[in-house]
Point group: D2
Chain length 139, copies 4
């Protein structure tokens, strides 16, 4: 399993007239979380794009329990439970302190930026990630 965690402070730009973070803006917090997870495991998403691989989002799902407010310092935990193939699934939890605010998932696919066609997880990324899933592979 891959795990990581980021801290993000709510900007005024991200709030709405209820004084809550607008529900669509968590998509961007989740993006920061998964990009930092990749970076911490040796892979920059930007480098991946430079090598001709895009990772568009195939599906998004969020359960909102409590709103985040302006200036809150949020923690977004992110994890990947299975080795990617043609897809890579990320799970997220957003906390303020020890209060869970929401839970979500995204599935991303690997696409060749030249052809626009789906492709498998690039070898370079596979080799970086495999050690974290060894035990599962052995089972």
């Amino acid at each position: 399993m891959l795990k990581s965690s980021i801290s993000v402070r709510v900007r005024y730009a991200e709030t709405d007239a209820m004084k809550f973070v607008y529900y669509g803006n968590y998509a961007s917090y989740f993006e920061v979380a998964r990009v930092e997870l990749l970076r911490q495991h040796g892979m920059s998403y930007k480098a991946l794009e430079d090598q001709g691989i895009w990772m568009p989002v195939r599906d998004l799902q969020i359960d909102y329990l409590l709103p985040a407010l302006y200036d809150d310092e949020l923690t977004v935990n992110v994890c990947v439970r299975s080795l990617p193939s043609t897809r890579m699934k990320f799970e997220y939890e957003t906390y303020r302190g020890d209060v869970l605010l929401n839970r979500g998932t995204t599935t991303l696919v690997f696409v060749s930026s030249q052809s626009g066609r789906p492709t498998r997880c690039p070898e370079v990324l596979m080799q970086l990630l495999q050690p974290y899933f060894e035990s599962e592979i052995m089972e």
Copy 2:
């Protein structure tokens, strides 16, 4: 059943470096669609807020099939299949011409803006919506 449809043109601000609409921005297109559905059935969401009712989003789910691009004129179809109670569920489909780009759902809850507590769908909204679900009620 309630049904409606809006047309929205993709702004440059809403695209990302893949030249696609950023995946989180559909949340805002869906918002426009459900607010216009309510307006077309006699209820302004702003008026609802002025009466002390907020409708925060409880969950969001989107399946992305194809990306929307800059300047695309999109059609977002929205429908409500059952009479709201403490919740109101909206279903969405985003089209470019006759090509389906994505499908999503949101569940919104009714909350008193004073107490922050969940409440039932306000009577005024119930009375506006009930005629559209008559047949289901009779069954």
Copy 3:
């Protein structure tokens, strides 16, 4: 002189915790206004990009007089007072009814998307715009 006008309804996504439209979001309303001005004069900005011309913004200036609120139907007037050369300057006024909310300007430059270098206003756009500035040229 070129003139145009668009109507835009404020989305919840665009408001902030003061219940105002977030000050940075007018950049996107101004974008819609200038793109529609070009379209109404025969030039799609998307087509321009497809021909290898980008128009990044060189400067932005806004004076905010009064805030716009959720669900407001705004009118953004846009005008171009002089024929573009290597730059094209747009002026904007945002109204709610007959109340002026803000005034702004942007200067855009023409850039080759291949080389990233500044270029002159493309001939095809010049020919479309010239008739609107004839009198000034004759003077």
Copy 4:
């Protein structure tokens, strides 16, 4: 003079189809910069709002020299050159490494959130800021 500096990494959500940071999104980077400047000098903007003071933006001006790109780590320098009265002016410079990308200013006004009326800079903020402008006051 007050000075501060923040570091911000460009999110995919903030890029546009030119692969640049969308020009309106710097408004939100500038917001982060000025809020952190206040925090570092002992004043949380959130606390100010809780005391009934809003600081809406009165004017914004940006000169864009070079674009910021996805995943860039930007430095935004912010300074305040004169003691606030009914207004507070902030100046910004955005850098990638030692390359200046853009320069901007915002003027914010103090408003009572109850009455919506302009007010003077609150005493508590004045007292925190005054030491940094002592020499100017003596002149």
